[in-house]
C-alpha cells in the first residue's frame, strides 16, 4: 500500500492537471470570442457578406467550444475547492488567513461574474441588445482573466512567500500588496496568460486546418486560421522572453528548482546545458548525458563561467529532478516548435495571399497535429513549477507532509481510481466531441436554423425581433 501522502498528492495532481486544461483555453478564448463578435458587428452592414458571415460562423462555432470548455472548468473547479480541505487540511489551518481571502476574492469577483454572464452570452441573443450582449461577452472574458489573477497570486505566494508574519505557527498578513505582488507573481501571471493565448492560437489553427482538410466551414476556417497563426506568431517570442525572465526569477528565489531542471548535482561554474540525461536520485548522478558545454551557465547567469548551485547543496530540501528535467525540456521543446510553426506558417499563408485552398495539405496536416500542443506545454510547465516546489507546500516554510489529512490511504486510493477513470473518460469525450463539432459545423448550424424556425413559429415568448440579426 502506498503511503497516504503520495496518494493525496497524486489525487490532487490528477485533479489540478485535469482542471488547468480548461481554464487554459477559456481565459484566452473569452477574448477571442469578443474579437470575433466585434468583427461581425463591424462587417455585417458592409458589402462583403462572406467575410461578415465568416466571422459570425466563427463566433457561433467557438462559442460552443467555449461553453463545453467552461462547463468542464466549472465542474473540475468545484472538485478542487473541496480537495483543499479533504487532501490538505493543515494547509488552510496554517495559511488560511492568506490563502482564504485570495480564494474568496476569486469566487466573489471572478467566478460569479463569469458564471452569471455566461448564460446571457450563450443564450441571450434576441433577448438583449447587441450592446448588452457584447458587454456580457466582455464580462465573461474579463472574469476568466480576473480568476487567473487571484489564483496565480496565491500560487505565486506559495512559491515565493512574502508580506506575512508567523505568530504561534499561524500565518498572518502584514502587507496585502506584498502578498499579492510577491516576487514571482508578475512573471508567473504573464507566463500563464500568454500560455493561454498560445494554447488558444494553436487550437484555432489546428481545428480550422482540420476543417479545411475536411472541406467544411468554408467561410470561417480561412479567417480563423489567419487569426490563429497571427496570434501565435505574435505571442510566442514574447512568451520566450517572459519565460526566460521567469526562469531567472526562479534561479534567484528557488535555486533548488533550477538545479533539478538543469540536472546539476554539484555546484559548478560553467555548467553545461544537458540536452538529454536521466537524473538518478539514488546514485545522485546523471546517466546518459548529452551536453553542450557552458551553455546552462550562459543562459541562466548570462556569463560563460557563472555559478549554478547543485542539488547536493540542498539535500532534503530539493525536488525530485527526474520529472522536472523532462517536463522542462518538453515545455521548451514545444515552445521552439511553436515558434518555427507559427512564423513559417504565417509567412507561407501570407505568400498565398491568405487563400487557404492554396496551402499544401501537408502543412494543414501539420497544423492539425499541433492542435493540443499548448495543452502539453502548459501542463509540462505547471509540473516544473509545482513538483519543483516540493518537498514544500509553501516554499521553504511548510512541508507538504506536515499538512496532509488523516484519511486512510485505502479511501484516498479508491477515490483516486474513481477520479482518474472519470477524467480520462472526459478528456477522451471532450477531444472527440471537438473533432466531431469541427467536422460538422454546417450541420450543427443548420440544425440551429431549423430549430430557430420551429421555435419562432411555436414559441410565443420569443421576441419577434430575435431572428433579425441573421
Amino acid at each position: 500500500m502506498m503511503d497516504a501522502l503520495l496518494l493525496a498528492r497524486m489525487q490532487f495532481a490528477a485533479n489540478i492537471t485535469f482542471h488547468i486544461l480548461f481554464p487554459t483555453i477559456s481565459i484566452g478564448m473569452g477574448w477571442l470570442l469578443l474579437f470575433f463578435r466585434w468583427r461581425w458587428l463591424e462587417t455585417r452592414h458592409g458589402n462583403d457578406r462572406v467575410a461578415a458571415h465568416g466571422w459570425l460562423d466563427a463566433y457561433r462555432f467557438w462559442t460552443k467550444v467555449f461553453a463545453l470548455t467552461f462547463a468542464l472548468g466549472v465542474v473540475s473547479g468545484i472538485t478542487m475547492s473541496f480537495q483543499f480541505g479533504t487532501n490538505w487540511p493543515g494547509f488552510m489551518q496554517k495559511v488560511g488567513n492568506i490563502a482564504g481571502p485570495l480564494l474568496g476574492y476569486e469566487v466573489l469577483t471572478a467566478f460569479f461574474l463569469e458564471a452569471g454572464f455566461l448564460g446571457v452570452m450563450l443564450f441571450g441573443h434576441g433577448k438583449v441588445s447587441e450592446r448588452v450582449h457584447l458587454m456580457s461577452t466582455f464580462f465573461v472574458a474579463f472574469g476568466t482573466t480576473l480568476s487567473a489573477f487571484w489564483i496565480l497570486a496565491l500560487n505565486s505566494w506559495m512559491q515565493t512567500p512574502s508580506g506575512h508574519e508567523i505568530v504561534d505557527g499561524v500565518y498572518h498578513v502584514k502587507s496585502w500588496f506584498d502578498v499579492v505582488f510577491n516576487p514571482s507573481f508578475p512573471y508567473r501571471f504573464a507566463h500563464m496568460v500568454l500560455a493561454s493565448g498560445l494554447t488558444c492560437a494553436f487550437l484555432l489553427t489546428g481545428l480550422s486546418s482540420w476543417q479545411l482538410l475536411r472541406g467544411v466551414a468554408q467561410r470561417s476556417a480561412p479567417r480563423v486560421l489567419r487569426v490563429g497563426l497571427t496570434l501565435a506568431a505574435l505571442l510566442i517570442p514574447v512568451q520566450i522572453v517572459v519565460g526566460d525572465m521567469h526562469g531567472l526569477n526562479t534561479l534567484h528565489h528557488q535555486p533548488a528548482k533550477i538545479a533539478a531542471v538543469e540536472g546539476v548535482w554539484d555546484t559548478e561554474r560553467g555548467a553545461p546545458l544537458l540536452l538529454f540525461a536521466i537524473p538518478d536520485s539514488e546514485a545522485r548522478t546523471n546517466r546518459f548525458e548529452l551536453k553542450l558545454p557552458k551553455l546552462a551557465s550562459l543562459i541562466l547567469t548570462h556569463e560563460l563561467d557563472g555559478e549554478i548551485k547543485g542539488l547536493n547543496d540542498f539535500r532534503d530540501r530539493h525536488p525530485p529532478p527526474l520529472p522536472l528535467f523532462f517536463a522542462f525540456r518538453a515545455m521548451v521543446g514545444i515552445g521552439l516548435l511553436m515558434l518555427a510553426t507559427s512564423w513559417l506558417g504565417w509567412w507561407l499563408y501570407r505568400r498565398v495571399l491568405w487563400r487557404a485552398e492554396r496551402l499544401p495539405r501537408a502543412l494543414l496536416w501539420f497544423f492539425a497535429g499541433m492542435t493540443i500542443s499548448g495543452w502539453i506545454a502548459t501542463v509540462a510547465g505547471w509540473y516544473v513549477t509545482e513538483i519543483g516546489r516540493q518537498p514544500f507546500i509553501v516554499y521553504g516554510l511548510i512541508r507538504t507532509a506536515d499538512v496532509t489529512s488523516a484519511v486512510p490511504s485505502a479511501m484516498i486510493g479508491a477515490t483516486l481510481v474513481l477520479y482518474l477513470a472519470l477524467y480520462l473518460a472526459l478528456i477522451v469525450a471532450y477531444v472527440s466531441v471537438l473533432k466531431y463539432m469541427a467536422e460538422k459545423p454546417e450541420e450543427l448550424l443548420q440544425l440551429d436554423a431549423i430549430e430557430r424556425a420551429a421555435g419562432a413559429a411555436t414559441s410565443p415568448v420569443l421576441p419577434a425581433g430575435s431572428a433579425a440579426w441573421t
Binding site: 457561433r60 462559442t63 463545453l68 462547463a71 468542464l72 466549472v74 465542474v75 473540475s76 468545484i78 472538485t79 475547492s81 473541496f82 483543499f84 480541505g85 479533504t86 487540511p89 493543515g90 488552510m92 489551518q93 488560511g96 488567513n97 482564504g100 481571502p101 480564494l103 474568496g104 469566487v107 466573489l108 460569479f112 461574474l113 463569469e114 458564471a115 452569471g116 448564460g119 446571457v120 450563450l122 443564450f123 441571450g124 433577448k127 450582449h133 498572518h172 498578513v173 489529512s405 484519511v407 479511501m411 477515490t415 474513481l418 477520479y419 472519470l422 469525450a429 466531441v433 466531431y436 463539432m437 440551429d448 430557430r452 420551429a454 421555435g455 414559441s459 410565443p460 415568448v461 420569443l462
Partner: protein
Amino acid sequence: MDVMSFDRVLPVVFMALMGASMLVYVISDGYDLGVGMLMHRATDAEKDVLIASIGPFWDANETWLVLGVGILLVAFPKAHGLVLGELYLPVALMLVGLTLRGVAFDFRVKAKDTHKKAWDRLFFAGSTLAAVAQGWMLGRYVSGFGTGWNYPLFAAAIAVALPMAYVLMGATWLIMKTEGQLQERAVQWARIAWAPMVGGLVLISMATPWVSATVRTRWFALPEVIALAAIPLMSGVSLLAVRGLLATRHVRGPVCWLPFVLLVIVFVLGFLGLAYSIYPYVVLDQLTIWQAASSPEALKVILFGTCISVPAIAGYTVFSYRVFRGKTGELKYA
C-alpha cells in the same frame, strides 16, 4: 460597538453568510438537480425543453456551492478539515455526480446523435448521485457525525428525502417555465413527488431531536417552543397549499409560479430551523464558530470584498433571471 465585540460578531456574520450561500445553493441547484432527475420520464422532445429551462442558470447556481464551501474553507478552516474529512467519500461521490451532469448537459447537444441518449442517461444519473450524496451529507452533518446504528439510518432517510424535495422543486420549476402537455405532465410529477417529500420531512423532523440531545433541548425548551412552532406550522400550511394548488386548474394558468415560490419558503423555513438547532456550533457539539474561525484581520478583508461583490452578484443574477424570464423557448447558441 467597540472593536473587541466587532471581532466577536465577525464569525457569526460569516456563519450567516455561509448559511445563506448554502441555502441559495440548495434552492437554486435544487430545482435544476430536480429537473435532471425528471429527465428519464420525459420524451425526447421534452428533454430538450427541460434542459433549455435550466440552461442559462446552472453554472451560476453551482457557484453558490463554491462560495459556501469557500467560506467554510476561508472563515472556518478547522471546521473545513473536520467536516470534509468526515464526509470524504460522499463528497467524492457528489463531485463525480456534479461533474457528470455538468458535462453531460453540454455534451448532449454537441455529440453525435447516437451518443445523445447515453449523455441523457448520464445527466439523470449524475443529478441523482449528487442529490443522494448531498442528502447523506446533510444527515451526517445535522447529527454531528454521531456514531451508532441510528445515525446512518437517519442519514439514509435524508438521502432519500432530499432528492424527493429536489424533484418536487424541479417539477414546480417546470410548471412555471413550460406550457402545454409538458406542463400538464410536470403537474403530475409534482403530485407524485409531494407525498414522499412531505413524509420524509415529517420523519426527519421527528427523528432530529431523537438523534441529537442538543437539538432536543433546543427545540422543546419553554417558552421558545411557542415561537418556534411557527416554523413547522408555516411549512405545513405552505406544503398543503402546494398540494391544493396542484389539484386545481389554476396552477397551469396565471399562478403557475406559486407552487415554486411556496416551496422556496419551505426551504427557507427549514433552513432557519436548522440554523436555530445548530447555532453556535459549526460542527454540532464539537466545534463552535469562534473556535473554528480564522483571525479577525483575515475575516475583515473578506468581509470588505463580500460587502462590495455580493450586491453586484445579486444584481446580475436578477438581470440574468429577467433576461430569461417567462416560458422557456428553444435554446440556442447565438
